[in-house]
Amino acid sequence: MSHFAELMDRNRVSRGRQRKVANATMLSLTGLVTALALIPLFWIIGYVLIRGGKNINLDFFIHLPRPLGMTGGGVLSAIEGTLVVTFLAALFAIPPGVLAAFYAARYPNTPLGVVLRFSTDVLSGVPSIVVGLFAYSAIVVPMGHYSGLAGGAALAVIMLPTIIRTTEEMLKLVPATLREASLGLGAPEWKTSLSVLFPAASSGIVTGFLLALARAAGETAPLLMTTLGNERFDIGQIFRAGVQGHKSVFTILWSIVNQPVDSLPLALWKYAQQPYPERVQQAWAVALVLMLFVLIVNISARVWIQNRSRRMKG
């Protein structure tokens, strides 16, 4: 018998069984661990649905907060604030993000392209609270007060790297033949980019933007030092006051963004830590609204992508 076979034979059978047991154990463990990690997901969603659901009613959506100790009232200010701030963030982040992505996709190997990619990576890793500090120094201080504008700008900085990266990847996925066909017909570079490449990549870009938006809507930290929070924020009221005072549309809009605004995540943070049970209940309701928003955006993004790839496969 060969040496190897001797060496092996000594404990061949038991060793073989050992290896099989170890194999089965470790493999099951990975499945178990995956299930384990998903428990918090369902746990959180479950509680938010139950406790939040109990406290949601129409009032919640259409009223301003009542002073502490009084029941009722809603989070209208927070909802409107979130809408304003997120809209501003999108406004500030999407055009530059998309344009920068065009450069990154087209000229990845130029010095500027390399530094751009590096900057995008760096920006995506900056903690959101640090972005808040930056927005504070860059906008709040010069302006002299907190504002929705500053909050929108901070969120825009957070959204920017995601938008650049997703748009760049989607643009790269467009088949080169499409681009060459357009150029070959004599279309200039900019027209090719805007009317051929962008539409072709658009659904992926929109998905990326939606996901970035969902993330920004849930951010709290940067808003702590830019929008501060404002329970009196009521767009309807501002609008009516402006119309009565015969102010121009621009002035009205400006006064909307130029003051501290409330927002859902901020409201959640505040209410969760207050010793009044009504506030805590409202916190759960706010959490529900936020979670639903995030979930719906995520699911839609997924479904959109599935749909598109199914359609493209023809």
Binding site: F4, L7, M8, R15, G16
Partner: protein, 277 residues
Amino acid sequence: MDMEMKMEISESVYKPIVEGDGQAKVDVKNLAVYYSKFRALADINLSVHEQKITAIIGPSGCGKSTLLRSFNRMNDLTPGCRVQGAISLDGEDIYAPGVDVVDIRRRVGMVFQRPNPFPKSIYGNVAYGPRLYGIRRKSDLDEIVEKSIRQAALWDEVKDKLHQSGLSLSGGQQQRLCIARALAVEPEVVLMDEPASALDPISTLRIEELMQDLKKEYTIIIVTHNMQQAARVSDYTAMMMIDDQRAGRMIEYDRTNTIFTRPKDKRTEDYVTGRFG
């Protein structure tokens, strides 16, 4: 170049067992291999003789690799793969229920088309197999590693740098390293899937010389699309072709000499004389 010939599914012109030397080490009986609904191999019957080199040849896509991978049940790794019929190793069907696949794979080793050493040292690559089987003592491992690398005709080139990464070797050396790695677990059969097709001519020749040495101890089954190689190297040759349902079939199996000088089937004759494929 591959060409499918319209074939009638008539009886094949070969005898399953070639009379003469040795007994069958590996016996294939009525093997059919399916990938989900698609039948990739049909009616394969083959006896592989001990300590001989058996070559499987045929045009591209005729199922040579599928057949080879059936011998060590590597086809099990492909989802949807089903096997009908039997393959016996020393008389025992390797597809019987309850068979220890891990043990089969130790007894039937494989060398792949492209060298695929692990990102470990040369020593670590060769010692990987024995370690799996519980061999731990350094002196034992040293001995096995040296023996295997010598058998792969690589020792002189690497004996001073056993702890360098296996990836630092040239292509031909890496392939010989992979051969050493396969030999380290003392298989009985060695499968080689176009082992030299990714290598330069000189490395190819070295591997062919190596095979002649190896057959003294091991039974070798090699798949090759290079007919000249099959003619140079093997003792027996099996000719495969694809039928009009795209299933691979064995057309002829005989001593290499016969296949290349007096083949019984016209299709074999056409193939080996280069009229197609």
